[in-house]
C-alpha cells in the first residue's frame, strides 16, 4: 500500500504528515518526498507519524538519512506522534536516543516551551 504524504510549509519549517505503512514497498516514496524538502534546507523538518501504523527498518533507514542530511546544513529534524509499535522499533534499535522524538506537534515545534 502506498503512503499518503501531505506537506505543510512556511519560511522556517516543513512538516510532512505521513499516513499508512512504511515498509520496503513504500519507503522509497517517503524518501523522495522527504529529500525534496531537505534539499531546500528548511531550518526545521518535522515528521508527523501519527498516521503511521507500521514501520520497518527501511522506514527507519530513510529517516536516518533525512536526519543526517539535515545535520549537514545544521537544520533540526524532529519526529512526533509515534504509535506504540513504531516507538518500539526505535527503542529496539536504540535510535530513540539519536532522534529528536516528541509527543505532539507543539512540543516538536518548540521543545523549550513544554
Amino acid at each position: 500500500m502506498s503512503l499518503e504524504i501531505r506537506t505543510e510549509k512556511n519560511d522556517q519549517s516543513v512538516l510532512l504528515h505521513i499516513k499508512g505503512e512504511v515498509d520496503l514497498y513504500s519507503s522509497p516514496q517517503l524518501r523522495k518526498e522527504m529529500m525534496e524538502q531537505i534539499k531546500k534546507k528548511a531550518p526545521l523538518i518535522l515528521i508527523n507519524l501519527e498516521g503511521v501504523r507500521y514501520m520497518d527498518s527501511s522506514g527507519v533507514a530513510t529517516l536516518i538519512e533525512g536526519l543526517q542530511h539535515c545535520k549537514k546544513y545544521k537544520g533540526r529534524f524532529a519526529l512526533f506522534g509515534l504509535q506504540e509499535n513504531v516507538k518500539e522499533v526505535f527503542a529496539l534499535t536504540r535510535l530513540d536516543k539519536i532522534f529528536e522524538i516528541h509527543k505532539d506537534r507543539a512540543s516538536a515545534t518548540n521543545p523549550s516551551a513544554v
Binding site: 505503512e21 515498509d23 520496503l24 507500521y54 527498518s57 535510535l95
Partner: protein, 137 residues
C-alpha cells in the same frame, strides 16, 4: 497438537502488507500479547525484505514460501526462497552505535526471536526462526 500454515508470495514488496496481516492473526491465535505480535511480525517482515533485496536483488516475480507452525511450546517460522545464496557477512547485523541507514533488519530478527538460523545453498536459502509460545494462564 501442532497446527501449521504455509504462505506463498512472489517477491513483490507490495505483498508484504498482506503477509503481515496473516501472520498477525496467526500470532494472535497463538496467544501472544499485542506488543509481542508486533515484534514477531516485524522480524518476519524484515526476513522477507532481505530475501527480496539480497537473494532476489529486487526482482518481483520470484517465489517466497513462509511456513509457520504452532505447537510443542514453539512458534516456528521457516522462510524459503530460490535466490542466490546470500553472503551472510554482507547482511550481518551492524553495531548499533554506528548510525547509518541499513543493516538493522538482521539485528531486529535476532533481538525479537529466540532462534535465527540461516542455511544457504545452490538450491536456495532457508531461514529458520522460533520463539517460545506464551505461557497459558
Amino acid at each position: 497438537m501442532e497446527s501449521s500454515i504455509s504462505l506463498h508470495i512472489t517477491s513483490d514488496p507490495s505483498l508484504l502488507s498482506s503477509m503481515r496481516t496473516v501472520l498477525y492473526k496467526i500470532c494472535e491465535t497463538a496467544g501472544y500479547s499485542v506488543s509481542e505480535i508486533n515484534k514477531i511480525v516485524l522480524a518476519v517482515d524484515e526476513a522477507c525484505a532481505n530475501v527480496i533485496k539480497h537473494a532476489y536483488k529486487n526482482e518481483r516475480e520470484q517465489p517466497i514460501t513462509i511456513n509457520c507452525s504452532v505447537g510443542n511450546g514453539l512458534l516456528e517460522i521457516e522462510i524459503l526462497d530460490n535466490g542466490e545464496p546470500v553472503d551472510v557477512k554482507k547482511i550481518k547485523s551492524r553495531e548499533l552505535d554506528e548510525i547509518r541507514p541499513g543493516g538493522l533488519g538482521v539485528y531486529l530478527m535476532k533481538s525479537v526471536m529466540d532462534t535465527v538460523t540461516y542455511n544457504g545453498s545452490k538450491q536456495g536459502n532457508s531461514l529458520y526462526m522460533s520463539k517460545q509460545l506464551p505461557k497459558k494462564g
